[in-house]
Subunit: 335 residues, 2 copies
Amino acid sequence: MTTMKDIAKVLGLNESTVSRALNNHPYVRPETREQVMEAARRMNYRPNTLARSLATSRSYVVGLVISNIANLFFAEVTKGIEGVADAHGYSVILCDTGRNAAKELKYLDLLARRQVDGIIFMSGRLPADVVAAIKQQRCPVVTVSRDGTRYGIPTVRINNRAEAAKATRYLINLGHRRIGFISGQLDDAESGLPRLEGYRAALEESGIGFDPDIVQEGDFRMESGMRACARIMQSPPRPTAIFAANDEMAIGAMKTLSQLGFKVPADVAVIGFDDTAFATVVTPPLTTVAQPLRMLGTSAMEMLLKLMAGHRLADIETVLECQLVVRASCGGTGL
Amino acid sequence: MTTMKDIAKVLGLNESTVSRALNNHPYVRPETREQVMEAARRMNYRPNTLARSLATSRSYVVGLVISNIANLFFAEVTKGIEGVADAHGYSVILCDTGRNAAKELKYLDLLARRQVDGIIFMSGRLPADVVAAIKQQRCPVVTVSRDGTRYGIPTVRINNRAEAAKATRYLINLGHRRIGFISGQLDDAESGLPRLEGYRAALEESGIGFDPDIVQEGDFRMESGMRACARIMQSPPRPTAIFAANDEMAIGAMKTLSQLGFKVPADVAVIGFDDTAFATVVTPPLTTVAQPLRMLGTSAMEMLLKLMAGHRLADIETVLECQLVVRASCGGTGL
DNA sequence: GCGCGGCTTGCAAGCGCTTGCAGACTATGC
DNA sequence: GCATAGTCTGCAAGCGCTTGCAAGCCGCGC
């Protein structure tokens, strides 16, 4: 490998001059710079980022701590992050935790050793020890779709409560009065519980009673949606619509409905949440509230860039709007 | 940040002794080691990986160059890679190319600057300039699901031709004689063309003629599967089965079939390829040849580990078996 | 003709860690 | 009691790059 020293030697210059030429420092004679550039090209020089980082204490690496990269939801967000990171000269180290708090801690430590300039954290429920580990990092950390804000950690998220209410209102406007709800885990304070609250709030604002028989707890996976739907459908009067707290459970519900002989949307309307790629694949295509997944990633990375640049954030929290994507699973288009 | 020098100073030792104690070098007096360990703990010492890497010229980082992380196929493989990488102390830098050759080159260069110890390459079609860039890397590179072998690049892959024949034979054994085929891009020498060849070979070994009217080229995306299926179904005699070169196109075909009023599998059987999460989500669940996605990743990383350790590979190519996963989209279970 | 300020370059120290070499010290065997 | 072979530790150089400081150079204005 050719180093700056090699170039310097060849040109009879000092290493520091070569460095300045390469980093277009102002005070370098144009001809000198050209010589250096030319030699670098000719000798196939590649700066050693490690050495540079050691000297400058900037690594231009960020860590991404994530629950599960094989999950479409996280994968989309990751795509957004990687895109803007790269556009700004940052590389991203991928840390897949499997939602395991011990691994989260381990990765946080690892990233610190690797001298990353920033961390995007999108895994698990932020237990106390993880929060502590995050706060004592010497580099900025931003969480996405977590309730980091309550611990003073910059966060980008959506308003789960409001968006769930939006979806529920859509069904109500379509004329539905008896609407089943399949929730996520209710001990999940970020997206599990708030979506239920939004559902409930929308019902109440329309004077529709809340019937616990037709809200069932799931775990965000398809099978749980199937089971929940089965339970919901056996609570007369029969619901005419089902709102599931994510797409996979909505799809599970659709499966169960079809097994029970119900047509979607003719007999019962189904609406999901997230708008991952699953929504378009299923038949009928799923109406769902679309999380701006990609943008969740880009916003988080942009936030992190600001922090790494030493700026204070105008607002510690960025809340992104979702959009209701109307496909076929609820029939009409409503208002 | 506390450094080795700090620890050394506190204990009245030399930095080098501290280093040896921390790296459990044999010749360190047990009490000394214990002192050092204790001080390190107390002072909250975290080794600076950058500095270590610079000194040892081992970064314990690998680069992953990938077409699109938001694609389930790649995301699964990535999960496999990250898992074994982490288990062996390696971190992975994620490089999403969007199948853009210029970006592939850019990332290859970037990774070299970052002094990665190895690269897993899983993007694009390996044009000449990319191959050249790969070969002149100073670190080992392995490709996955690419025809790197022809350029002497270690590769892990499946036997697309044989697996496609397997799927076709399954349909034949089910009694189908007129089987439509939706291919990927035929200029894709890795998975596009070979799957068509396998289809054709299986037909011919059963004495079934190859009818170009019922093989249509798609692009591995759902919409192309829909269009291709429409064309296929209007070539009498009407096919009783359709084999799509991946799951997304198979799902597209199922959509079209249902629009045309055909029942799957009663009227026409559908089989896919890959077994991404889509296959289970769709109704009826898709019978498909399951690529060992996770294992593609783990094998690739294991191969890379061997290479990075300086071992010669027994075989430059690892070929993994697929498994036919029978769900409902082809009806019966066949032989 | 002299001083001053702005360019341009070199010198050297430093980022935090590793490692070959050598010296000191200990235990062992004869 | 001494040589020898191990143990243990320190010294110093080095990984490849950056950067503050100083020195040399130039042209300019007075």
